[in-house]
Symmetry: D3
Subunit: 280 residues, 6 copies
């Protein structure tokens, strides 16, 4: 991963080198193209194949649990968008490697390499055990709804520590449901359009000072479970809404049984998913 700077024209983009982890994933693919406008070099990484590598890109397959590889990955990086790791409920052993050990490797390497900022894909599942009859601001107490959610809480604590101790800034994006379109009625509330997702990352990278910030990643949907007022210093204003998808779901009377946790809590089906048994 040598510095390819010498044979390039002088940098003209805001960042010299951005690292994108999880670049082969659902959101990574969406973001990868957008980063081209923001950095001279975009280093992309994943454990899955990364497809065609553009002229401005550096690609490498790295397991985040591999400490040495991660330290190499962070060399020469200005800022990171960390979408890597596991983003659904999974056996604890898998989460431990990808989301705990892997995240520590990332922060440890970033600090040593002098990286200034990490945009961290946290999740609304860090607070998914709050009821659907509440509206959370960014100071709401952690209520993970799954072991996956617990690892996202870990990430928010670890990044807080790296900011308080070393000044390494992080924006924790508590991303809702970022897909082409909502897949069920719950996602009408948690929907984050790809366009709004990219805008959220843009705000997180370019706001001059972010400290250790938390922000919910949702579009301007009609129904809201979260309130970003206290994160308004990031300048994130969603432009999309799930309203255009409401017609996909027939209007029904509230039919959920009162004791169905997937209806009671913001995390939806996640609250019942775990802990999963390891695959053996």
């Amino acid at each position: 991963m040598t510095d390819s700077n010498l044979d390039r024209p002088a940098a003209r983009k805001p960042f010299r080198r951005l690292l994108l982890t999880g670049a082969a994933g659902n959101l990574g693919q969406q973001l990868r193209g957008a980063l081209a406008a923001w950095a001279d070099i975009v280093r992309v990484t994943d454990i899955a194949p990364l497809g065609v590598v553009a002229a401005h890109e550096e690609a490498s397959i790295v397991d985040l649990a591999d400490e040495a590889a991660v330290h190499a990955l962070l060399e020469g990086v200005d800022a990171v968008v960390h979408l890597g790791g596991i983003s659904v409920e999974a056996p604890f052993e898998d989460l431990l490697e990808a989301n705990i050990r892997g995240l520590y490797n990332l922060y440890s390497a970033a600090q040593k390499q002098g990286v200034k900022r990490i945009v961290y894909a946290s999740s609304n599942h860090a607070v998914g055990f709050h009821p659907t009859t509440s509206v959370l601001d960014i100071d709401a107490p952690l209520r993970p709804d799954s072991l996956y959610g617990v690892t996202k809480c870990f990430g928010e604590s670890l990044s807080r520590y790296y900011f308080d101790r070393f000044g390494l800034e992080t924006v924790c994006l508590r991303i809702g449901s970022s897909f082409e379109q909502p897949k069920n009625p719950r996602m009408l509330v948690t929907y984050l359009s790809f366009r709004d997702f990219i805008e959220l990352v843009r705000c997180s990278l370019f706001t001059n000072r972010v400290g250790h910030a938390i922000v919910y990643g949702v579009s301007d949907n009609r129904t809201k479970w979260v309130d970003n007022t206290k994160a308004a210093f990031l300048g994130f204003r969603p432009r999309d809404s799930s309203v255009e998808f409401e017609h996909l779901f027939p209007v029904t009377a509230p039919t959920a049984e009162l004791d169905d946790p997937a209806q009671q809590f913001q995390g939806g089906a996640f609250v019942l998913a775990g802990p999963m048994e390891p695959k053996r």
Copy 2:
């Protein structure tokens, strides 16, 4: 009030049977038509004549203070929109019958009949003794501005109990001034258009889980005394505003005497109305 289901085609609307109380009143008349789209059967009731009864309607004249009649009224009902009772300052004896005894009858019957949800017309007069220089969120302490307002506080407490004890959900609508148009400058702040009122009831009926919710019923007026942020899980977004009516009221310098309570408190003239003497 036999079940007329047998001779109807199969239900296709979200609710099978909705009950609307106070159907002959100002707001009841507005809402009555809208309910047709939401339920196969709309049961309408009032103490005043109910006019022409549509094919999808069941109509009955019931005094809410009549326990047996109210229990019959609730049979077979899925959800209730309760606009009945007295909605202005009145002698305590009258309020006691309509808004206290009547409301208890309603909740007692609803619980016994297995009703799942009541949309309850509370009022901004439950908090009308807050000053006009404050902005109330839905957790603001109760400050009734009249005996009428006290009975609305009673309704909010009673419905809270029925939710905590029996799981019977309620949305308390703290309705402002819902008329064709504002009648005085204060109503520029408290105005709720009929269209927004209907939308608010729609949100209250169709949101999957509401628990025991409180929400202010005001349109998107320029000046605000209330803040619905914490009720955003209901998905209510007003579309109207009193701005179009501002021209009706000449702009004047603040002329109110500093000690005029009707100018000092959100409840306006209500703060001076009661207690009224009973009519004898």
Copy 3:
């Protein structure tokens, strides 16, 4: 109920005439003697027999639901300690007469007679549906645990209105369990000694300004579910504690089933008591 002032020596006690309602009840009997030191005349009333009437006392049997009798009762009174009404779960019809109609009569008469202050026996059952794992300050939202608790919420709202509207001051005492000694483990938390109860009434009567105040009536027990910090302007400092009674209850592991509401909520068994059927 003529003014007996003329043939008495000049008043030397702080109050000229105090009214004690519920004087024949559990707490009324405790307080009745103490009032002698604070007022030249103590007017005692109840619906039950009042026993021997002392020289400084005026006694009358009054049903609080009797409007005319209550207005007569309030004549010439400086301040009221209102312990009357029903203090346990009961059929709604009974609560309506004693705790709603009766309370309105009391406040209506007090206002007309120029009474300056009422010390009102509210109850921790106005907030009894808060979990036993929380500590409530005096701004905690109302969560009545019974129809009885709902009537106490009514009393707090009604008295708030009379203060905001007429300046008639009230101290709402959210009394816990005031008996000779705790009768079960829950009462170790809610215990209020008779001595502390009397001191609480004393503070409520003699603090120069109280506005509309709420204060929890508990002794300095080891375990606390409530926090009176914001009511410290009343100067109430309990001197007793249930610690001396802890030996009465054998120490056991937490054995309550997780879904036993009587263990989950501060109101204890009240949360399951109502609504009761009327006695017919």
Copy 4:
């Protein structure tokens, strides 16, 4: 400064006489024209020349530190828009005369002359030592970023006293950066268009009751450091935004050194400006 009322036609505008201080300054010039529509007579004052005086205007050059002159200036005034004084960091001695002694003279005279309301140009520099990673509501603790900011805190305290003591109402406008256009990236956040500034003054003058209010003066910019929710009773809704000026500032990666106070705090360069040495 005689009363010119006699030879004028009957008043038809909302105010009879408004006083504008600092009329020759940046914002004073913007506002001066707008006031013509709101008052029969606009009294304008400054220590600098006031240019052409219109028919509806009364102009006088007054040093606010001149007690007698200020008392004369307030005669016959209904309400004041106080933009006078020093609005940048300056030697303490200068600030003392203009912003402390001068402000006391203004309030003392206003109270004696029976003025009902003052719209006071406070500043975001009263809270400029809050970090740029926070969003302040109107209750945020004072954190002045300069001696100038300290004098604005003084003004907010003094006006609070005059309201609590004498009922003289004040709206404290914590004005951001009100210029033709933002001059640097920070001003994209603090920008207040002239049009929005005038609207803010309009709301402050015409809202029927304001008590002692605090409101941030910023347009609807994309990035926000402040939150006016609790001041919504003033009805201020900005119509402009700095978005149209974002193109003026090239997008860059966050380059500020972590220990540059001008980047860390909302006050920007003000936090490093003072205290200045007096000019001698």
Copy 5:
């Protein structure tokens, strides 16, 4: 004001030189002796005669409004206990010189001389317009009850600025009524014994880090209007109480008229004292 250190034995006390302003006043006299144990040299100053000067003392008569004299006064000082200035309502002109100009001189000089900490005698009159039915924590909004109180707010803002800007620490003591004994019933609430006052200064000087702190100076009186919980990092635990003086004031029924501000607000008679006319 030469350094008398050379002819003394090596310093063994915690501070080398403490400055006490207002040393001739009521509290200054109480504190002066105590300081001997804490510093090798105690520099005492006042505008009034300072009496006998002890061997460990340096005494000088200084007008705080005299900038040059104050700068000389601060030379070689480690920390300051600032009791100087006017401590009652007075004409604004007098307050301006002593409490505003004088305080600025003190902070300006302290910063230039490298002083690390100032213990500043603020006052409960900075928040005296809060009602007597509230309990204030240290974040309560400023509500000065007098021009004197306004100058104390100024001091709290100025010292906040010096901490945020220069790291000069201050503890603002909101001193209640510190006399031999309470002089009226209100002082039973605001009483601060001399012993507790000295202990409060001791905590303020010796706590390792104080930042910019606010703490109420009251003894452990029965009735409380203030709550120091959030200042518990100072370690101040009052040992005295006004209980021993309660017998001095006969128990009376609340007799104050409802509209007597001196009974309604914590500041007592101060709320009616100002503004005073200057003595001419």
Copy 6:
């Protein structure tokens, strides 16, 4: 680890079997004896030797990272006091095994075995990056001061999840400095006597319902950085204080440099300890 119940007399103690992890450590040794009074059988475990095993004890050496061993360890257990794991800063790899993997094993096994409650030794280092000039209540945001502190945050999140998902109760003890006596001035603030520690565990085990609770483990020291008011439902009242040890530390003027993190933050030297390099 067979059930030894058959050959014992009938159980008379509150718990049948308690598990104590970390039994060989500093606090484990203190607690081990106390548990004898509370349970028929005390199962003790550690990775270090456990010394003499009493008749009522079951002892086993278990590495918490050994999943199968932990599951066996939890068989037949009613409740757990979990002091095991690493309690100081350490290389991340070590913390990962002991405090993350080990804790997951414990909760996973406890849930499967039907354990009702875990008393979990969290730490004030979970919030150690709060400044020493603040007082934290139990809702204060997490601010770990070390990787060790991050793992304690993980434990608080994991146990929250197990409560919300499975009803497994936990009390998180944010233990300060529990030693024979304070070892430095900071520990005068964080000191928890052994006696108070044992009492805190007693309250945590015997309070009937605890849900998921957080409580600070400090004695009644003079200076406080934490406030347990909201945890008062646990009934913990410390009886000891560090006052008796204050004489051990000479009184000095605040000498710490303003930029010494170990003086600025509650975590003391921990804030500078990590991350440590692994021992290889």
